[in-house]
Point group: C2
Chain length 366, copies 2
Amino acid sequence: MKSMPLQLESYLGKPVEALPTPALIVDADALEHNLACLAGYFARRKARLRPHFKSHKCVTLARRQLAAGNTAGITCAKLSEAEVLVAGGVKDVLIANQVVGKPKAERLAVLNHAATVRAAVDGAENVEELGAAAVAAGVAIGVLIEIDVGMRRCGVPPGEPALALARKIAATPGLRLDGLQAYEGHLVTCPDFEERRARVTDAMQPVAATRRLLEAAGLPCPIVSGGGTGTYEITGNLPHFDEIQAGSYALMDCAYAKVSPMFHNALFVLATILSSGRGFAVADVGLKGMGNEFGLPVIAGHPEARPRSIAEEHLPIDNFGAAVGEKIRIIPSHGCTTCNLHRRMWIFRRGMIEDMWPIEASGCLE
Amino acid sequence: MKSMPLQLESYLGKPVEALPTPALIVDADALEHNLACLAGYFARRKARLRPHFKSHKCVTLARRQLAAGNTAGITCAKLSEAEVLVAGGVKDVLIANQVVGKPKAERLAVLNHAATVRAAVDGAENVEELGAAAVAAGVAIGVLIEIDVGMRRCGVPPGEPALALARKIAATPGLRLDGLQAYEGHLVTCPDFEERRARVTDAMQPVAATRRLLEAAGLPCPIVSGGGTGTYEITGNLPHFDEIQAGSYALMDCAYAKVSPMFHNALFVLATILSSGRGFAVADVGLKGMGNEFGLPVIAGHPEARPRSIAEEHLPIDNFGAAVGEKIRIIPSHGCTTCNLHRRMWIFRRGMIEDMWPIEASGCLE
């Protein structure tokens, strides 16, 4: 009695509105514009793009990002994402986060038999743990020292603490010091570009100083990695940055539309109106199909429509007269947490379904 | 190179802290207390419990809720959840929501070959759509008219609009009018119990009047269904309510702990400290492993710890000195959106792993 798994064959060439809802749908023209736009930008820069997988969690899309060119590999947020990427044939992955605990250190080491999979580090015990796993597996694990540039999350302070950790890494068998990572996450959505530029440039200066400090101590930093969709024109132009970890640029969302208007919105949640009348309508998607932490979504093509709130499976929309059964396209406020809720994305071009890509790493993988 | 799927056999009998994180873990003693507590309450009432599947999306747990007794069947939020439940052997399901569009109407009709699967309705066109699908499939679909008691979401106003829709249903081949549904979702977490009682009782009076109106017109309403974990003692005591749709009581969360203290917290996200020092620690779970719409989570056993914010994969916790690698138990603010992010829940008793239950309906199913 369980419904049949959705097959591409049943929907190929049909209007995207034929899909059962809620469905994650991606405009191929907008996606291709975004990939070409950012690849073109990095064609003219020293820094490379290392697209962030966490924004979409879809291996097919990661491969498209690599194929667009001027990339250094893929960034991801956690070991389980790296495992999905390597299983999908990606050969150079940076886990922009700490991989902690002996079992995960062992998984990371094993993964390095099949690909180059680096991790960020910010503590001596974790360095020892990764080194021991690498030696046991007969591999070298490349690590980047994470520098806290003001986000107050993971990372060591710049300068001497980073140098001390670099010396520790250099003295640890099984590890290879590959450079530094610094993410200016607290600044990426600062609305005014000039203010963003000034604050990001300022925040990233200690990273340059730390790189010089380590190099003076005979500890070269071939890779300095950081940045995002909101700052690629800033961090990507700093002479001491080698890789930019932009992710949201590929699919976009309401929040980044304000920050990075050169990219087009490619991501929508297709929804069906369940109930209508009395001045409002209710769509069949809520918190279980859309991220909400950057605010309420936008109804594409209906500037008059005002989402009122977001429940688990309902989106009540004021000032909206859509009929029951009508399909609408919703632009989520945050693409990253939205893709995480779906198992597949449907690719459409000029309204017609062209492909279906699994979102292999969606949900909370361990 | 992809990591092996997690097997129960590898973890059975081990401390719950042996699990890779983030992991959804459930305290079996607390869960059993909650199931027995609410089943015991309904043993002494006319109304039955119809546990809401959307809170956990786990078929094994739904079966435990039925086995605890005094239930009328299971409630769920959407057709795809009902399909998962019927595939898992559940024989009586209420979809407490509209099932809209011909393809979904057909799926609902087919499902009624294997089980009794009712749906809520609030519009004439949807009634025709469901009736046509039922006739085509050779089944009768039972429907409840949803009454809007002030939440301003789905539903018709009480009184004459409900009577008009009831007449329409009675005149539609393939449909069976089984009663009314009314959910007081805007009142379920009202903090003061006496205020909640007064407001819920008041909001539900028009439902009683509507039931009498329909019965006077020769349209009996054998089932009136509504209520939740925060209102079961109120709605469950109203003489005109037959079924209570409580869901959160089974696993609980921070938000319902304030509203319904008779239930124990059974649900935690097990996390690992990735980074520590400088007065705060960072755990390896964020928005992609925990719902946040009811606020920040709580660190179990550490009243001094103050989660500062929640990122996609990080929870920075101020005033917390846990060591890197330490496992902590986090109580999410909302269990329903948290379970939706995980593919399995690990059942533990007095710290040791006892079972693993798949969360079959997690993620955004179509």
